[in-house]
Amino acid sequence: MKKTILIFVIAGLVLVTLIFWAVNSKLSGGLPEILMLAGALIVVGFAFFLGAMRLRSKLRKEPAEDELSKRVKTKASSLSFYISIYLWLFIMYISDKTTLEADSLIGAGIMGMAIVFFLSWIGIKFIGPRYE
């Protein structure tokens, strides 16, 4: 239960920070800002979704995690790591061809890694872990 509460607290804090950032930084509404905001919202939404699933398991008196959910998480982690290597290679490639600053590129890379993990998790969860 502690872990579930922690997930909600962290996701809530990130959401509040995002709202503050969006309100105070006077967003120009450009494509990079919208993409950044959308990516962050996907990540926060994913955290809330995970928290809700854990809560539902608790209400059903099921374990929050079992061998299938751990295997899905492990497979999603390994797949997203593999994809992230190519993501960073792509970022390195475009870094010379774009006017974006280094910290923006690093931020985009980290956000991309989170989104890649989210997509890998969704894919493996619904398809099911393939057998070795």
Binding site: S57, K61, E62, P63, E67, L68, S69, I127, P129, Y131
Partner: protein
């Protein structure tokens, strides 16, 4: 690997949630097992077989 979980669950009049609670996994894991999308660990396979009071090889059929 095939299994007879769905058939045995019906025979023992158990819901997916009840079986999941008895073997200590989530209902979703039983759903994946019944669909043949997931191979259980040896411990889970033994736990499920014990619920049905059958030898493991009568619940899980390897190589079919």
């Amino acid at each position: 690997m095939n299994n007879r979980i769905k058939e045995l669950r019906a025979r023992f009049n158990l819901s997916q949630l009840e079986l999941a609670q008895q073997v200590g996994v989530r209902r979703e894991t039983i759903v994946f097992l019944e669909k043949g999308k997931y191979n259980p660990s040896l411990k889970l396979a033994f736990d499920i077989s014990r619920v049905f009071k059958l030898p493991i090889e009568e619940v899980f059929i390897f190589g079919v």
